[in-house]
Every structure is written in structure tokens, then in C-alpha cells.
């Protein structure tokens, strides 16, 4: 009986030690869209108070820079300054439609939540967004469908004119070389300047005019636009 008590105490100790936070994650991200690229992806692991963005809140200038032009540098420095764990640009450039970047390893250390962003191109200010997903403590494979958000910082005029800096209207480029030109511009009457679910692009079938420089047969999407698989080891 004494021996049993001793082993019971050992078991209890084991249970108390088990729920420490650190876990090894293996992450993959798939572009589910028909014809959109993702610009460099940013993955951060952080505490339960931090966010890269929040639906219903104003975009930070750093998020705006990412959503309008694909530049993640400011978001990365902000995350590093906040002592977050950062994986920048795991796909080493654009992630084309249908492509997957995998085997992204991340040791969570003391971090409990995961966030992912990348601009959807060609759009004015759409981005894929995973906001503060709580990292499970139970080992296993978790699949997350990720939606496209609108940063709410730029009118969705759907004109491809090279405009990628915050404050300059328009879409930087259509990396699939499938954009149009000379569109007169879609009138965006939305007054929502907070981060919100993207309404999707309109596009048209006239690549030399019409309202939009996007092609409704190529560039439209429905949510979700990305699938993230996280293996908690």
C-alpha cells in the first residue's frame, strides 16, 4: 500500500507538470483561391492580449502597409518589439493560387496564441487573417479555414495602377499577368473604415475597359481563401 501511495504521488506530479505551454508546431498554409496570390506571409505567436488585427477595430498603420502593398516589415518590427515569436515570409515570396507552403516549424515557448496575415493580390486592401487563434495544448492536427478581410483603409476601386503605398489608391499589380487596364473604377460606397470581412471583388469581363481591371472569372473568391493546418507535436 505504501508503495502504491508513492506511485500515486508520482503520477499526480506528472499530471501537474504536463500542462506547460511550450509546444513544437508544424504549420502549413494553402492558397485556396481560383486566381489570387498571397504576398509574403507573416506568422506570429504571442500572448492572449496581442493581435496583428481585430475585426471591428481600425487597422494599425503597419497592418495598412501590409494590406495595401504586401509589406510586412513594420508588422514584423512591431511583433519583435512586443517580444513575440515571428516567422516572416515562409513562402519566400508570393504564394500562388493552389500552392502550399509547409513544414514551417515554430517552437511556441511561452506563447499561447497564433496570428497569420498576408495580402491578397490583386486587391486594394484585402488580406488573409487569422487573429489570435488559441494554440491547443493537446497534441494533434488542427485545420483552420481562414477568411479574407478588408483592412478598411482604401476604397476598393479595382484599378491596377501600381498603387501600393498607404494613401495611394489602386492595386499594385496582378502577379498572374491576368489583370486588365483602363477600367473607370468601381464606386466603393462602403463607409466601413474598420477591419471587416471582405465583400469580395466585383471584376468584369472587359480587360481593356469596363469598371474594373479585375476579371470576374479569375479574381473572385468566396471565403475561406486559405487553409492553415497546425500540427501540435
Amino acid at each position: 500500500m505504501n508503495l502504491n501511495k508513492v506511485s500515486m504521488i508520482l503520477v499526480l506530479n506528472g499530471l501537474m507538470i504536463a500542462p506547460t505551454m511550450a509546444a513544437e508546431l508544424e504549420i502549413s498554409i494553402t492558397n485556396l483561391t481560383h486566381g489570387n496570390h498571397f504576398t509574403p506571409i507573416l506568422i506570429t505567436a504571442h500572448d492572449n492580449m496581442s493581435h496583428q488585427f481585430q475585426a471591428g477595430e481600425m487597422a494599425t498603420p503597419a497592418l495598412q502597409k501590409m494590406a495595401e502593398g504586401g509589406n510586412i516589415a513594420d508588422l514584423m518590427s512591431a511583433a519583435t518589439g512586443n517580444n513575440e515569436l515571428v516567422v516572416g515570409n515562409p513562402a519566400e515570396g508570393l504564394l500562388a493560387a493552389g500552392k502550399k507552403v509547409d513544414s514551417i516549424m515554430l517552437d511556441t515557448q511561452t506563447m499561447t496564441h497564433l496570428s497569420i496575415v498576408a495580402m491578397v493580390l490583386p486587391t486594394n486592401d484585402a488580406f488573409i487573417g487569422l487573429d489570435a487563434w488559441e494554440i491547443p495544448t493537446t497534441p494533434g492536427t488542427y485545420t483552420i479555414n481562414v477568411n479574407a478581410y478588408d483592412a478598411g483603409t482604401e476604397a476598393n476601386d479595382e484599378i491596377i495602377n501600381g498603387g501600393g503605398m498607404p494613401g495611394s489608391p489602386g492595386i499594385p499589380a496582378a502577379p498572374g499577368m491576368d489583370g486588365g487596364a483602363n477600367g473607370t473604377g468601381v464606386s466603393d460606397t462602403s463607409g466601413n473604415d474598420k477591419v471587416h470581412i471582405h465583400p469580395g471583388v466585383l471584376g468584369d469581363t472587359d480587360n481593356a475597359g469596363g469598371n474594373s481591371d479585375l476579371d470576374s472569372r479569375i479574381h473572385r473568391w468566396l471565403n475561406p481563401v486559405a487553409r492553415v493546418v497546425v500540427e501540435v507535436k
Binding site: 500500500m1 481560383h34 473572385r220 468566396l222
Partner: protein, 241 residues
Amino acid sequence: MNTFKTLARNKLVLASAITASLLLTACSDNDNKPEVVPPTPPVVNQVYTVTVTNLTANQPMSPITLVAHDDISAWQVGAPASLALETLAESGDGSMFSSMDDVGSVTVGQGILMPGMSESIELSLAPDDVDSVSILTMLVNTNDAFAGLNDFSLDALTVNQMMSFRSIAYDAGTEANSEAKGSLPGPADGGEGFNALRDDVDRVHAHPGVISQDDGLTDSVLSASHRFDNPVLTIKIERTQ
């Protein structure tokens, strides 16, 4: 201590029960000596009720196809569709899955599943066949949209337990989404189903939605009501036996 004593007592009871059964067996063996045939327990199938609901506004769905298979995926996002998937997604006919390697059984629903309607299908599987099941259906007023559940294991489902899923619409990527007259098998058109030509991106992806004539695709036979958003299908799986 009380628990320990009870356990010990139970052990004694169990031991005498075993002895008794051994004695009985010995007696019967003495009378006539039958050949020792190891008993083969009959294979008891595991039975599931799969209930699907069409969540779309105006996209009838082709007869629900349930496939029990080995380690294969019915589809893989980013990879080309199999011929069986192409056929299902373009014509609604899922029967080709039954001739695929590594497919154990294919069960097909009653018929077209209309928007807003639900159907329950009984799925009876040998215990060996429950670890990889897929469910597929075509959105018939489209060129090649489908929905379902891919390579799911029913292993962990106990009797009377239920799991619920919602599916997005996928695009098989095998036929351009022209929405043109003569290209859609559904009631909006009554056009062609399967065509071996692959004139789209040739990889499975999330469906971008239909555009419709009302939204600027001049040649489309579809109207605003044929558009859909995700999710398009609810799937509930309950184990009954």
C-alpha cells in the same frame, strides 16, 4: 482500504467462476470428442445515419455519394481531380468511384437533393472500412462545383454519438466556369454533364462562386438566385449500431 477489500473479494468470485466453467468444459469433452473449431465471431457491421442538408438558395445537389475507401483522398486542394471526381463534379454521377482502386463500397442517396431539403442515408460498414470515408455531391447549376467531406475517419465515433460538419463549395478545376448555355447539367440549363476536356486550372480549389448574368457575365444562363455562399452543405453523422 474498503475498495481494496471489495476488489479482492471480486477477484475471488471471478476465480471460482472461471474454475467452474473450466470444469463444465472438461465434462462435455469427456462425453464425445468433437473437433476443436475455434469460434469465428460473425463480423458485425457498424451502422451510421448520414444526414445531409442543402443550404443553398437555388443549387440542387446530385445524389449524395458516400465512399468508403482505404488511404486515398477523394480530392486534394491544389492537385488535379481524379477522373471519378471530374465526372461527379461535371455531371453529378459518382458511380465511377466504385471502380477506383482501394474503394471498399459506394452508397448513393435517393436522388436529387433540392435546396433546403435534407436526406438521411444509412451507411453500414464493416469495422475495417470505417477509418476512411468521403461524401460528395455536385451543385448541378454549375460547371464543376462540388461539396462534401474528404477522407474522414469514423473510428472514434461511439454508438449514439453524432458529429456535424459544414462544407464549403469546391471547384474541381476541370471545366471553365463559363456558365454558358449547354454547359450545365442542372435545371437552369439542362446542358452537358461530363466532358473529358480540361479547360480550367486543372487543380481542385475553393469555388469562387458563380457570377450570373445579373452580375455581368453576359453569356451566363444563371441568375442572381443561383449564386451561393459558404457553407453550402451540412453533414451530420450519427452512429446507430
